[in-house]
Structures are given as C-alpha cells and as structure tokens.
Amino acid sequence: MNDQEDKRAADASPLSPGGGMSLKCDDIRELLTDYLTHELGDSRSALVREHLRKCEHCKAAAHEMAETFDLLRANKGASAPDRLSDAQRARVARALKHPIICWIEVNHSLVSAVIAVFLIMLLLASIVLITIMNRRPPETIIDIRMTPYESFELDKLEEREVPVGLSDMPEPELRPLESEEPTIPAVVTETAPPPETQAEVTRPATPAPRAKESHDEYSRRLGNIRRNRLFGVFLIAVASLLLGVGAFLVRRIWRRSDGLADGSVEEGPPPLG
C-alpha cells in the first residue's frame, strides 16, 4: 500500500473514541518513524500527534526513538573528506580522455591474469619446440651387405697415412664358391657418440624405428609424433586459458548474485542528458 492510499484510508476513518485507543497503539508505533522523519501526510500526522498526547506508552516509545535519531544526528559533524584529492581528480579526467587505459587500470587483475596465462603458454610452447629441435636425430640403419673378404674397420682406414693398397690387404683365404658365408649387415652410425648412461641405452630420445619400416615411413611417423606433441601442448594451454576465464566469469556472476542478497543494487546506465 503506497502513501497516497494510506492517506486516503486515514482520511476516511475518523479517530475512534477512547475505547479504540489501545487498539491503535500498535498502528501508531509502526508510524512513529515516518512521523518523526516528517514523511507522514498532514492528516495522519495529526492522528499520531493526538494519540501521543493521550497515550503515555506511545509517548515514551516516541521519545526513545527521537533520542536515537538525535544521537545519530549528533555524529553528523564527523569529519569526512569533502573533496577528492588532485591526483584522484586527474585520474578521473584521464578516464574520460583514455577510456581503454582506464579500463585496464580498473580491471588490472583480469588483464594481469590473461597476460600471465599467455606468457606461460608461450614459455611452454618455446620449451617444447627447443627440446624437440635439439634432440638427436635417430640412428639410421644403412643396410650394407659386405662379404667377409671385403669387411674391415673404418677407423683403421682413417689412421692410415697412405691409401690402402693391395699390398696392405691381408692375404685372403680362398674358399670354394659353394661355402659362401652369410652376409653381415653393418650398422653405420652417422652421428653422435655412443650413449654414456644405461638410461639412454634403454630409453632412446626418439622412438626407434620398427622392424621392416622404411626410412620415409619412419620420418613420417616421427613428424606425426612431433606434431601431436605440439598440438597436445597447445590444447593444454587453450584449456587452461578457457578454464581461467570461465572461473573468472562464474566468480563474477556468483559475486553479483551474492552481492544482491548483501545489499547491492542494480545500477544500469546513468541517466545523462
């Protein structure tokens, strides 16, 4: 019921005689605050005034409430700053001239979080890329079929000062053609020293080629593995970013709903102009 309806109801009902005074005390006390703050209409104020003149209990209640108002008002002169500082005024003026910078300053925690996540993503991606690029290329198996007659150690060949000549070759043992020795495939390591630790032997840095796998197939498989690893890192980074943004939004919505229960009010845009 709004004030205008209250006024009409009050004007319609005359003050009841003596016996009705106790019935009206509860109603009068509910109106005391409005009466003391001059929010009651003239007719209802007159009703309350008349009742307080006759009822000592309600008069005491009104007196107590008026004292409370006076005590609060006595604290009215408590010093509060009456203007913003010059630095604060300058900041407000800067907000008008540079709204984007101002938005960043106001939402610095969100901006900092986004930049931090982006830098972590960049760092992770760089580490993964550098790690992949610096790994040893795989051992390449070159299938060299040599007969025992022709096999010899390569390092001994390099130590020789003179080219190998027929005179340096050991005397071959002539054997019948039927007893051919099985060919011995030689494994030639193109790069890198032998592994120094057992761990490196048991767990190679890159996947070993499978049996009966050609070099092209192996390179293709290795490329796929590297791409998948990069993609995995990228997915983790994007998921982390989305999780962070989602958590921020949920927290904001939850704070807003919690804040409304706490006494915050809807703002909306300002009525300018």
């Binding site: 605050t33 409005d34 005590l71 609060l72 509060a80 700053p81 203007r83």
Partner: protein, 185 residues
Amino acid sequence: MDDSDHPDQAPGQDDLAKLEEIITEFEAPLLRYAARILNNSSAAQDVVQTTFIKLCRYWQTDARPTPQLSAWLYRVAHNAAVDHLRKESRRRALLREHSEERQCLSQPGRDGPGLSDMARKAAQCLQTLSLREQQTVILKVYEEKSYREISAITGLSEGNVGYILHHAMKKLAVALKRLTANETM
C-alpha cells in the same frame, strides 16, 4: 572550433568542464555517504573515485547534474563500497584479524570534539546493522533524503524504505539501551 563540427573527436575541454561540474556537485555527499558505510575516509575517496570513473565510461556530451544522476551515483558508490567491504572481510579472514578491528579503523580524531559518548556509541551500533539498514539510515538521517529519493537510490518501494528504516531504528534503540545497561552494571 565547435565540437559539433567533429562529432567523433575525443572528449574536449567542454566535456572536461562538465565532468568537473558534476564532480564538484556530488563529491561531498558521496564522500560522506561512503565514509559512513566504510567507516574509513581514505577508502571512501577510492570508492568515490571509482564511481566517477564509471560515469566516464557512459559519458555523453549533454551530461549535466540532475537528481536522477545523483541517485545513480549513490547506487554506484554503494555497490563500490560493498565490494570494498567484501574484499576487506576476505583479507581479514586470510590474516585472521578480529572483527572489532573494523571499528578501530575510524580515526580517533574523526569524530568532532565534544561528541558525547552516547553519540559515539550510537554511531558504533549503526555498524552492527545490515548493509541495507545502514544504507537506509544513513540516507535518511545524514543525507536527509526523502523516502522517494531513497527509493530511487536503493530500488526499493517507498513503503519498504519506511519499513526497513523503522525496524533499523528500533534495533538501534534496543542496542543502545543494552549497551547502556551493561555499562551501568
């Protein structure tokens, strides 16, 4: 050079002058209101600064100080004060400080000289009310707003404002009586 010749230009001197006019008009009551809610004058200045910065985000060239703008500024200042209180309570929970420290935040010299002990107690009892009740009491008693103006600021109906104010004053009266009785015992 007239602003109407270049409508898309950045805010000019005219806008800054209008902003300064609005700030001068409303900063004092907003600072008083925020200081009452927060019981801290420096935090009140930050809150009011935030309020005016928010106004700049919605700035229009034909802005001018109006009662409707005043109500909006009070709403924004109130919400900013609530956010500040929420952050403070979280910070205190992390640092495990006692709740009485909030009352100690008021500077000793803040209250005027000669302020009676009862008046000081009344102000302290005000802090024990809910935020909604505090808001209503502050706007009515200190800012001397009408129920209609308080309704525009808080979004409550006028009847609801009267109801909340009445019960807040009753609680204050009871709290003061209890405080006085404890001291005389």
